[in-house]
Amino acid sequence: MDTQTFLIAAIIKIALVAFLLLTGVAYTTWLERKIIGRIQNRWGPTRVGPFGLLQPLADGIKFILKEDMVPDNVHKGLYILAPMLALSMALISIAVIPFGETITVNGTQTALQITGVPQPGQPHPGDINIGLLIILGVTSIGVYGIALAGWSSNSKYALLGSLRASAQMISYELALGLSLVGVLILAGSFSLRAIVDSQAGAWFWHIPRWYIFPQLIAFFVYLMAAYAETNRIPFDLPEAETELVAGYHTEYSAMKFAMFFMAEYLNMITVSCIATLLFFGGWHGPLFGPPLLQSLLPVFWFAAKIFVFMFVYIWIRGTLPRFRYDQLMAFGWKFLLPLAIANIIVTSFIVAVWGHS
């Protein structure tokens, strides 16, 4: 495969992934409204199309046709930059996520990952070896989008919301980053492909070798921190409707308002992808049937695992109340952070004693 084919394949993959992702985001909103409706003994959207399936499309058209307001006294440049920053950073972090092994189209083998590199003569494709660091770095830049949105709006609610959001996100980022260290010790690589490959196979009694079993505490810390990072219930203090109107996007309207939501849902998908890759064996699952089915099943398993995570997100939103802010900070700093550090010490000790396998 020469460089030209490689780049063309990359562009095709980027277009496909962007399309699937944005459709996925749209239908996550539909799914959320539908499930929350059912949890609250309502129907959810039913009018637009069968089962309300065209509702996301109607929402999108409405968002883009609404009046695009820029209030007085805002810092105009940053005000427009903020939603763009939030959305584009959420889109970029998807690039390093692998969703399967390889597929062969017209004799050209290509990895099912935007940054994946086929290795000649080997069945497994390669990967840029700092995938996880790129995700952590890019999602951290996303915090700027929220901080700038609140500050540039020149509104008290927006400022309070963005301050809360920034403090919360950077606090939980520590726990999030430290919870991943346990998996890194076990896998010994930053490459997401290498981490997934090290989870292939099964222990005795057909228990899959997923890192959820040895790293259960790390997974718990990761899940809590990920919920806080994406500003979802029970950590949705930044947009607490009862006290802050809408938090950092109070002053936004039309598509700019929607872009913050798209970024939020994209980030939900990204953290679900990382949880799947690091703790649930990525695309590994039972394979059966004809060759075509066998080549498609890994992608299906990957999507199914992500779907489960998204469902849990929505389920928790329909179940739990909101934290108080001091409880939130105490939970992050005094509980999750020590727990993550303890997990690192125990994991590295066990690996140091019995790890030479």
């Binding site: 020469d2 460089t3 009046e67 695009d68 307001m69 840029i128 509104s155 606090s171 010994g188 590295s348």
Partner: protein, 130 residues
């Protein structure tokens, strides 16, 4: 064969960065072009529950937020320092474990200090500088 150039592998990421920014820019521009614009002074004032906004919003805010940001920088640098060690922890074996235990111990001393100092107690009233 793919060129033996390490940079080539990062080109798709660079394209994705371009696509991400372009998509966001197109959305903002389309929304600006398609939506109607009918601005009135009342509509353009910042939202404050319908009453006339008082004062400027970009004033002072609680020092606790700065404290959290400072602590984040300190601890995040420490967390990032753990990453390269974690990747080769298996090869380093017992030696690496003890070395890192000393490091984590030092971090925990600092953590204990800020905990006792009350920097992460959100409800603690700020000290009177009398």
């Amino acid at each position: 064969m793919l060129d033996n150039n390490y940079f080539i592998r990062y080109l798709p990421l660079l394209i994705q960065v371009g696509v991400g920014i372009a998509l966001a820019a197109v959305m903002v521009t389309l929304s600006h072009l398609l939506g109607k614009h009918k601005w009135t002074p009342a509509k353009n004032s910042p939202y404050e529950c319908g009453i006339t906004p008082t004062g400027d919003a970009q004033g002072r805010f609680s020092v606790k937020f700065y404290m959290v940001a400072m602590l984040f920088i300190l601890f995040d640098v420490e967390a990032v320092f753990l990453y390269p060690w974690a990747v080769i922890a298996r090869k380093l074996g017992m030696f690496g474990f003890w070395e890192m235990l000393v490091y984590i111990g030092l971090v925990l001393v600092g953590f204990f200090y800020i905990w006792k100092k009350g920097m992460i107690d959100w409800n603690k009233p700020e000290r009177n500088e009398a």
